[in-house]
Symmetry: D2
Subunit: 339 residues, 4 copies
């Protein structure tokens, strides 16, 4: 029997989740909830998705734009076994109350605080711990990207201390009112940044400090990572080999012409991915180097899509329908993730 | 019997043409010629395309990167009925000699001069004139975008004089060494720009002057058009109606949230187009307005893909296998162009 | 006797006006009013400017940051003969009431509507009409840049119809939260834009239509102008000669390496201007060309500083202390404008 | 008696050096050598600088643009006691031979390799070692910025290990052909970057590793620094106090509104610096924090100007006319550096 999934929100994350859920053999997309009857709403209708307006007032707005909603978000929630909440950050807590009142399970995104659910999820790190949880938080794009790599390195070599500087894209491609244009914003100015502690919500034992800047790009976060390993015999070859064996990590190489995030974006296009999405942590193979058992590398994180496979896995983890290994395998296959 | 097509070049245009040819029911992609064994080459192999190295020297380069070429570009040319040449601008003339020596038909792109072929093509304007031509030039992205609209307006209202300012994207997404970063380049400084005369290679009777600037964007050219009509009774409603009836023009509206080229790019993603391509001239419906029988509007031109359907049609036009109407219809259907 | 001038506002315009007023031989800067005790406030103190907080509440905020205000903006207004209001757009109307109650003259900026004052000013166009006005609006940067040129061309050749496309810088260098980053915003989508009618508040008889787009730059607006002249014998040489003789127009040439707004910014630096300001309309001499008595050219407008000399002249025009010719001469000399 | 100084090169560095030399009480600018008769050449003439063309052929080019050169660069070199060479990177070695042949002292810039001179200079680190050297290299902007801080921290706390990620501005404001536009380039991909070893040319004992990315900005490099101190009792207050006492370090604070490099650029304007130059290493006071005796902070480096005071000091160091303390004091005072 299919898991009935609702996507509450149809923005950057919500619309990708809807498509991914729709494509899974063991899930049914019961509908999406959306605030605004914009071009995304119209194309959702064409895809055959049932649209629910966020509230009563919204019903008229949709009808005024030629879209007949199937009800309000509350109607949608009632139809679902589990809700994927990708509404803007500060609405999470009040949504949680609604889900609780209706006795529904829900996944929240990384914009919410860990305390909202008390449990933060990355498939390769703690799939099993999600079993039966009513509320789960799938961590943010940067935390997801980091956890995959840190987990792999920690299991193979032991991570002694991690230092990462994140150059964040300042806006998504369609967020055209956000800057900066020709400047670097310190975001936050106060150090270290919250990204380190956020990794610790998934992997509490990792000693990590992070800094983050905001730069005038739209396509990808870029991590400069310096990770001190416990295994003093670690070599760059062994690190590369470890990353090569790790699911949802894609190695790229400047020798094949990929020298910037611009070519990575283009790689997403050539791979034929929907919306050019890159669900993997992208690591430059020829950047991997070791200095005194500290590994240095560059990693790209596609902010719009990297958490999509994690959400799909979290659904199965919470519903206890598949093992970690099986879920990751199915999700990867359906989404076109090669390993 | 299928038309045997070779794609000489596998960059911005060449790889799109390869995919588009591959998808046509009446064409066969005999192979692609490419200079560099980069990530695009590797993914072309995965798609099953036969790769030919640009020259003898290149054979080793490809083999050194694990790709076995099927020969050199000369071998490829011999196998084809028609070659789509999308090599960089100044190689066109010497390539033409090679095609001529082998008695092959060829299409060149808008980076070449009109004089190279003596005939410049836009499907909706002069399909019939291509019949039997050995050498044809499919005009540039901006000229293609303009010709579609000018042709439609000219037939319905008569175009008295056209003035267009083109804000050109300075680089494609993967051209990461090109600027400017925080400046507007005048390109060219001398006025009017060459875009007006280039329109005249297709539509000689149109009185048009253009100006062009280069700005720090990567996704789309943006035209600000002011077109004086002969029909003094023209209204914005009638103009919109005309554009709505014209093939390969897509109307968008700020009311549905599309207020910048950023949302247009996103629309390409939501439409599920390969590489997010937008083959249509994108016109903002709510920008269309009339002042003293002069129509004003904004138009977006996706520089990477707008000429792809034109190339496909040009193949049939030159080979005389279909009528204009039939070819445009098939091409649109296969590429997902709605009208 | 000096004219006592207050600068209400100390942002982009206000701080430049304060410095410019301070430098005039016939004016006294009685102080500046400011909302926030930021780095600009601290450096204003170092320059010896008297700072007034916008309101009573602000007094404490300034003191908490080590700045002792000389009072509130109301105290400042009382000390002045004339107030230069450069507060954010929508505060103008309520400020006007305060000035009216205290019987003071005031200048407003182009962010306010023409109706607020009923009179809009550009020194070279209508200096004499300002005599004795209590409230005057100095028009926006783009309107100022256009009026100077249109006035010169109209007097020499007669302007039949003007068409201008303005590529607007999306943010000032220190406005680091504004975008777009890699997109062109249509601002406004509806056409023609308000810039044409705004020119008409100064020069009602000019037939002008404008379009405007917003692009990812910070240093300068760029106008693409197409101006139909009445004098059918006009040549580009004569146009250049006319612009050369017009005050506050600076001709630049790509032959000397100035091919983009980036080099214009750099020119401001080499000229040793305070804050690199360019008070002139910058016109590319070698872009000037004539097609059927229509003149085409590119013009740069430094959004931060072009209205500064206009404000200084408007003070004298309103106070009736100098003729237009004398005021423009003095202002130019003090600000380093060569003609 | 004045030191006769020639500036060979009049680009980003050369023109600033010319102005700075001109302003020193103990130096005489004997002239500048330049390749192109562009707008910078014309304004140099207006400043009264003697211009020498790079070679014989250039003489005509200058005359053709209305500039009478005082000779060729060889003539200039003969007139000088010391030459500041700021010609493009790869010309240094051949220039060195010319200087050697004429028995002249010369300073080279950080674009040259350390081996060219065998001695690399930062005033606060090794002023005394320059005494009498014929050839000295003033290190690059990023190395200069880092050495000032590392030297101060090393003397006060001992530096155990430094890790720095440098987000490099991709182009100067007038370099309008360079990108990337909407991407991060890994430059270099191979790690660690050369910046660490370059610090070691000045401070050989510092254990430092660096990574560098290139981003779409023009105004400033941004360093994310993580520096392990030997003194386990170090506090952020003591670090701030140390930086406050160090010459050519300017502390800024987000509380005064400086939250990005955009506001730092604006600060340069408000300070009234020529060309808005910021000769100091700019450190965000409220970013300074300590985790397990490792200090974290953000630092801005103005690529165009930070090496100017170092070049001026290097002249005196090499000519042995002043002590380090006296030279730094004079240079700071003349250039408006507060400490």
């Amino acid at each position: 029997m299919s898991i009935k999934v609702a996507s509450n929100g149809y923005g950057v994350i919500g619309r990708r989740i809807a498509d991914a859920v729709k494509a899974q053999p063991d899930m049914e997309l019961v509908g999406i909830a959306k605030v605004s009857p914009d071009y995304k709403a119209k194309l959702a209708v064409e895809k055959g998705y049932k649209i629910f307006s966020a509230d009563e007032k919204g019903l008229e707005k949709f009808r005024g734009n030629g879209i007949e909603p199937a009800g309000t978000s509350k109607d949608l929630i009632e139809k679902a076994d589990i809700i994927i909440d990708s509404t803007p950050g500060n609405i999470g807590p009040s949504n949680k109350e609604v889900y609780a009142d209706l006795g529904k399970k829900a996944l929240f995104q990384g914009g919410e605080k860990h305390d909202l659910t008390g449990f933060s999820f990355v498939a390769q790190c703690n799939y099993g711990d999600a079993a039966g949880k009513q509320f789960t938080r799938v961590v943010s794009c940067n935390t997801t990207g980091l956890c995959r790599v840190l987990n792999a390195l920690d299991q193979e070599f032991g991570v002694d201390r991690a230092r990462v500087v994140i150059a964040r894209r300042a806006a998504d491609p369609d967020e055209t009112t956000k800057g900066p244009i020709d400047a670097v914003s310190l975001d936050p100015v106060h150090l270290p940044s919250h990204h380190g502690p956020d990794v610790n919500t998934v992997m509490p034992h990792i000693n990590i400090s992070t800094m983050a800047i905001k730069i005038p790009t739209t396509h990808m976060h870029l991590h400069s990572a310096m990770i001190q390993l416990k295994d003093k015999t670690a070599s760059s070859d062994r690190v590369i080999d470890t990353l090569n064996r790790t699911s949802r990590i894609m190695l790229v190489n400047s020798k094949s012409g990929i020298k910037s995030t611009g070519q990575v974006l283009d790689l997403g296009r050539e791979l034929g991915r929907p919306r050019n999405d890159l669900f993997e942590s992208i690591i430059w193979e020829d950047s991997v180097s070791i200095v005194e058992s500290e590994v240095f590398f560059f990693m790209g994180v596609h902010q719009e899509s990297i958490v999509i496979p994690e959400n799909i896995d979290a659904i199965r983890a919470v519903m206890q329908t598949k093992s970690a290994k099986d879920s990751i395998h199915i999700t990867n296959q359906i989404l076109g993730i090669r390993k």
